[in-house]
């Protein structure tokens, strides 16, 4: 498991415990969420993204995720830093799983704790949107009749 912790980030909240990780282990959304709990917060908002069985009626058998891992961790760290600039949040946890995933298995978990619920919802939604746009991770969908590397939409495209 690649793991980084952010130290010394400015925040009004003491007791910081951000993390962003890439792992091939199965993800437990509830357990990840509880790691972002500071004493001054009363709510966590969690996004649990997982493998969908049907996309536009085409049946997916399983997925494979691959990452440019050191760059992915850097981009995750940037996203968390940007989230702190935009939202009043206390802690953020982002974990993305790599490798083969069966239907229903969790591929990504983003948990945000905040003193105010509203900020937690906003930051969590912003983080998943940006993660899908900027963090170098790719998924291959494997169907009965073939497989496709999914290509996202990105403002970074230069050609």
């Amino acid at each position: 498991m690649s793991e980084k912790k952010i130290e010394n980030r400015k925040s009004k909240i003491e007791d910081r415990r951000d993390f962003f990780e890439i792992t091939t282990d199965a993800l437990d959304a509830g357990a990840i969420a509880r790691r972002v709990v500071p004493k001054t917060c009363g709510a966590i908002v969690t996004l649990d993204g997982f493998v969908r069985q049907f996309t536009k009626k085409r049946e997916t058998l399983y997925l494979e995720y691959e990452a440019y891992e050191p760059m992915a961790l850097k981009e995750m760290e940037k996203l968390i830093a940007q989230a702190y600039e935009q939202f009043e949040i206390a802690n953020v946890g982002v974990v993305h799983r790599l490798g083969k995933m069966e239907i229903g298995e969790t591929s990504v978990v983003i948990s945000v704790a905040a003193p105010h619920r509203r900020s937690a919802f906003e930051a969590c939604e912003w983080l998943i949107k940006e993660l899908k746009r900027t963090v170098p991770i790719w998924k291959k969908e494997v169907y009965r009749d073939g497989e496709t590397w999914i290509e996202g939409e990105s403002q970074f495209a230069v050609n």
């Binding site: 993204g49 440019y68 990504v108 170098p136 991770i137 790719w138 590397w149 996202g152 990105s154 495209a157």
Partner: protein, 79 residues
């Protein structure tokens, strides 16, 4: 000057390689490297490509240094 170019996912599949080494003249820009790689692997042209230099997104205008780590990949699709 030698730089390393990494491929991932669709670009690794298209090129059949995970990584290549490219020899460039001094003063070359990252964009020059990317263009040369695409010329060598024209099958990459059918993808929307993103570029990175030393694990940061690149617009192709940086001057390369010996040992730089470049990467060519398709628009990301994690999550």
């Amino acid at each position: 000057m030698k730089v390393q170019v990494l491929f991932f996912g669709a670009t690794a599949e298209a090129t059949g390689k995970r990584e290549i080494e490219v020899n460039m003249e001094n003063g070359a820009k990252t964009g020059d490297v990317f263009q040369r790689v695409i010329a060598n692997f024209p099958q990459l042209q059918k993808h929307t490509l993103l570029f990175a230099l030393n694990q940061e997104y690149s617009k192709g205008n940086e001057t390369i240094k010996n040992g730089d780590e470049l990467a060519i990949f398709t628009a990301v699709s994690g999550g």
